[in-house]
Subunit: 215 residues, 3 copies
């Protein structure tokens, strides 16, 4: 009753491609880069979370290094972003949507893979979130930004909810295609709605008392 | 004659809690963050050094992923910092003290664990220092700061001295509760005194010749 | 017919020393550091790429932690840079040359080690490049710079060409001292000529349309 492998491979590969596309676009907007930087940062966004997850689970070489399709799709996504970044800026909504799918898929896969390795619930949630947001976080740090995930929008929270639903369905022994896809969908809905409505996680209390104050 | 496990577990867990508290406070002061960022960076500070140490020693999943108490204390410390950061700013001295204990404990544990794995003295010292300062260094980089450890105050040096004392006592076959606690205390004294007196490690010679010059 | 081990160890150790020297000098120029920061960042530059490579290949502890000569040379290089940075600034050309040798050696070793572990061509190229540029990239991020490799000069490209030549000669079963040294030399020539003539990899197309526009 584990998820349909074909469906999940397709989702995982799609997530990799869209993360590379979106990651490279974000890097281009953040700082001045050449083609090497755009491709390297697109690949980092797409593959970084999974590499950290696998190293933390003791799986080395990481899965993405052993299946050429991940590399190929990451390079393709980053190169397309490099060549067509003006065009792609205009279709931001569909990219947000695909990016949210990638976030959910990586969170669900990360959490269930951690449980498979025998880890407990808390580390499984942490690795789910790290799988989803890790690549983008490294990219932001490398382009001199404080990672978005730490300061704006809901990004880690939908990933954590998707990871929690995956953990719950594994524990209830109903983890399978249906529950996994359901967890991804919940992540996508929360992520897209929150981005549209500009919801943010609350800042520390001291900031609430000085609204508008530039710290 | 190895250190009393209960004592060391207590110190290690206390170090984790205080690193999370102090790490989250430092992150709040450094940049604008939401609750996700504060908790994530507090956890990074508390757990980051140990994760790097374990990955470098070939121990995956890292110890902190296999004992729920580390996660629980890291989250608790970060959340308390998030909620009470105004209050905690006022009791900075006690936090400095606890933080110095964490630094010493992590340095001693890191160095002795590296020797256990069969590494030599130099890598054991390096892993001791990395265990102590690694989490805070990642936090600083993620909040856009050049890590304090590289530029101000004595921070790596007391960690290295604690690690060196641990290595020395292992080599002299007197490593145990007494020598380990002694190494931690030496670290605490040097760290606290140097912070109070604002001692700094020397900058490169060229800077000495242009005092006051803003490079 | 694999490369002469003595020659390669000599090159590898020289690369480590010069990377530490050059890495520490770059760090001194980038930001205000004390002696701890200079030594730590010199060592990071010299050893970082190899540590990431080994962790990704499942080799832990990393090779650099098991052979004291790497540590000793990294510390020596960084300390010399700390003490003599004014003098060394004046002999920049020879440092560029040695640095290019280190880049080529690390790229060739990284790629061939990845193939040895059974990885495919794309991951071998990626790990070759990461071995060559990884340490400097971490140093740049830690000193608050967007890594040079992402935005200026040809740096990753000569490393990738050297890695590709190593992969090709392994596949053609002619990998040995001659082909390995040849690959390193090609890297050195491209790197030095491109630095002299200030060649850059192309930026994204949108920037071409707004020459001089400060993004």
């Amino acid at each position: 009753m584990s998820p349909d492998p074909t469906l999940f491979t397709v989702l995982d590969l799609s997530g990799t491609f869209v993360f590379a596309l979106n990651g490279a676009l974000t890097a281009i907007r953040a700082t001045r880069l050449d083609v090497v930087g755009v491709v390297a940062l697109g690949m980092t966004t797409a593959l970084g979370g999974g590499v950290i997850r696998d190293l933390c689970l003791g799986e080395a070489p990481p899965a993405t290094f052993r299946d050429w399709r991940y590399f190929a799709l990451a390079i393709a996504g980053a190169l397309i972003a490099y060549l067509l970044n003006r065009l792609l800026d205009r279709i931001g909504t569909s990219i947000l949507l695909f990016d949210a799918v990638g976030l959910g898929v990586f969170a669900v896969l990360g959490a269930s893979k951690a449980l498979d390795t025998g880890l407990g619930v808390a580390p499984a949630l942490a690795l789910g979130v790290i799988s989803g947001v890790g690549g983008g976080t490294i990219r932001d740090v490398m382009t001199g930004q404080v990672p978005t995930v730490f300061r704006a929008e809901l990004y880690a929270i939908p990933a954590m909810i998707a990871a929690a639903l995956a953990v719950l369905s594994v524990r209830l022994e109903v983890y399978g295609t249906l529950s996994a896809v359901g967890a991804v969908l919940v992540c996508v809905v929360i992520r897209v709605v929150s981005a549209r409505r500009e919801w943010n996680a609350p800042p520390p209390p001291s900031i609430w008392r000085t609204p508008g104050g530039d710290r």
